[in-house]
């Protein structure tokens, strides 16, 4: 039975061309008064952006649908439309049964209220009836493990307790359709395991799950159906493995260098623009392919448009499934307008064989991201091994040689 059908759904956002991110009353009045005199000129300042373009999708009861796609592909917009936070510009969504969406853990918690009061508040916000909350109350408190602190204001909770309570409430929702955004990204490993387990329970009991994550391993492990979105369009829908393969195939473009000669065309914004990024083997002998022994060098250059800006660069390395292998940043320093170069060395005998991709972020004042250059590079590391007769796939995100295992004969019999 079809429980959710998305028919030709599009969503348009209007972008202000002039970059009016600081939209205050004075600006609007100025624009109004300008438009009195130059009515035609003002109309050009709005630009349409279609976050979703004619998406058609059907979800059957009991399906576990994983939405995949790069950032900005429209996954979150689709979730927002499904959970009715924004309305679609055109098209219709038909929903059969109660739907609950979990875009965040602990939505609407009030810090001054106690755990008990917040359970009722959050439950009502997520759409539970009071009788339902009462029925699950003890189970929620147990699951969160906060029995002692139930009458303490949540502002005195540790962040772990806060997240556990938020998830415990959501876990006891009994919707027919559960929509989950990357809530798994927060919390420790234990919590992630717990939440994945809870979502499996949801689908095992015949309910429907819609799940968005960048972590392809989690999507593949949890879902049976998939939908792949790119630039707001639905590229492929069907069995999860086929969809993930399609996604990986189109994404894994082998890209070792990117260059821009003109700052005006380069990705970035008014504060910084990307000049170049490249990945080369960091050794005398140049090789075409990298294997696990090859030391690598990432060279990253950008145009800094700000004077006296305290900047640093943060490099992210992801495995192909979207898990971050590491994130390394340099020390923040004061830079003037001009080109800034950053280098990052990855030693040989560190990465495992497989596909990786790299993103770079420029950070200002040690905390504010200026620009996040995502999926900047993509590369494969080939396998190399010696002294073994085993040639199966080596597990792990990394295969560092600096961590060693040593065995000695401790006793003779």
């Amino acid at each position: 039975m079809t429980v959710l059908s998305i028919e030709n759904v599009s969503k348009r956002y209007q972008l202000n061309q002039k970059g009016n991110s600081t939209d205050d009353l004075r600006d609007t009045i100025t624009r109004w008064s300008n438009s009195l005199f130059q009515p035609s000129k003002n109309k050009n300042t709005k630009e349409d952006f279609w976050a979703l373009k004619g998406v058609n999708l059907e979800v059957k009861q009991g399906d576990r649908l994983g939405l995949v796609g790069a950032n900005g592909a429209g996954k979150s917009t689709l979730l927002k439309v499904l959970s009715q936070i924004t309305e679609p510009t055109t098209g219709i969504v038909r929903v059969k049964g109660r739907m609950a969406s979990l875009l965040e853990v602990g939505t609407g918690f009030h810090p001054e209220l106690t755990g008990r009061e917040n359970i009722f508040l959050n439950g009502a916000i997520l759409g539970m009836q009071k009788s339902e909350i009462l029925r699950h109350f003890d189970a929620i408190v147990d699951f969160a493990g906060i029995n002692k602190f139930i009458d303490t204001p949540v502002k005195r909770y540790s962040s772990g307790m806060y997240v556990r309570l938020g998830f415990a409430i959501a876990a006891h929702l009994e919707p027919e359709i559960l929509v989950v955004d990357e809530v798994l990204a927060v919390g420790d490993a234990d919590f992630q395991k717990k939440s994945i387990g809870k979502m499996r329970d949801v689908s095992n009991s015949g309910r429907t799950l819609i799940f968005v994550s960048h972590n392809l391993t989690a999507v593949q492990g949890l879902c049976n159906k998939g939908a792949y979105l790119r630039n707001g369009e639905l590229i492929k829908a069907g069995k999860i493995d086929e969809v993930v393969n399609e996604y990986v195939k189109t994404v894994s473009k082998f890209q070792l260098t990117q260059n821009w000669s003109d700052p005006n065309d380069a990705p970035g914004n008014d504060q910084a623009r990307i000049k170049s990024i490249s990945l080369t083997p960091n050794q005398e002998i140049l090789v075409d392919n990298f294997d696990t022994r090859t030391p690598l060098k990432i060279a990253f250059e950008y145009w800094n448009m700000m004077d006296n800006a305290e900047l640093n660069v943060s490099i992210f390395l992801y495995s192909m499934t979207g898990e971050c292998v590491f994130n390394i940043a340099d020390d923040a320093k004061i830079y003037q307008k001009g080109i800034v170069r950053a280098e990052c060395n990855i030693p040989g005998d560190f990465l495992n064989d497989g596909s990786y991709y790299i993103s770079a972020m420029i950070v200002k004042d040690r905390l504010a991201p200026v620009f996040f250059f995502e999926d900047a590079l993509a590369f494969d590391v080939l396998d190399y091994r010696e002294g073994t007769d085993w040639f199966g796939k080596w597990p792990g995100a990394v295969r560092p040689k600096l961590i060693t295992v040593n065995s000695v004969q401790k006793e003779l019999l």
């Binding site: 499904l82 510009t89 098209g91 219709i92 969504v93 009722f120």
Partner: protein, 279 residues
Amino acid sequence: MNSRERIITAKKSITDYLKEIWSFKELFWILAKRDILVKYKQTVLGIGWSVIRPLITMIVMAFAFGKIGKLDTNTAIPFTLVVAPGVIVWLFFSQSLQALSQSIVINSNLVSKVYFPRLIIPLSTIFLGLVDVLISTILFFIICIWYQFLPDWKLFLVPVFILMTFLAAFGIGLISAVLNVKFRDIGQIIPFVIQFGYFISPVGYLTESVRSTGQPWFYKLFVLNPVTGCIDALRWCMLDDFAEFNWNSFLPLVIFIVVTFFYSIRFFRKHENSFVDHI
């Protein structure tokens, strides 16, 4: 399995809209309860503040306008009683207006993460001020006993005029709430409006004294203030036959409520779906 089918599309009819609000009534109560609970958290006196504020205001007003301003010389009943309805209306009106105009921005974490009819948020602010109204009314009765004053049957109309006071604040409050999402300037303007609105409303004096200043144009403007209508009506029903019913201020109030109510709801509906883009 719930077989009811829900349709998410760009345009919703008004009846669907009202039905939907009704189906979220539980959230309405919870939000109202939250606001009241939070208001008195971590205070020593707790709900005592709702007694102290109107009480002190009444005493100060009676003293300032009655004794210093010498307005109490020609009133038939104690001046504290005359001031009481004014204070009740004013505190309720200003509190409601303030809470309404901030309601959406304060609840931005809800607006951007979960769906429910957004109108629930401003509607639920009514209870915040109602607690104070209830307490000040009890206070009024205590003052009545103190002065051995007996109000008549018209007292039963108090809830009607209290509701009208909320409706008077509702229209402008709702429009301010919408504008405040995009222009935080509103957050600066409202306290300012409340501050001087106090002086152009007959809280500590009588509308009658304005009429007798001998400047008819000023009186004509004065009665257009919706708060004047509320206070006059409440004085009429709370103070036996001390004050006559003032149609001059009541009619503008009714017109004001009807116009702003429907316009503000239309305005709200038009903008509620873009809150999340601006918040």
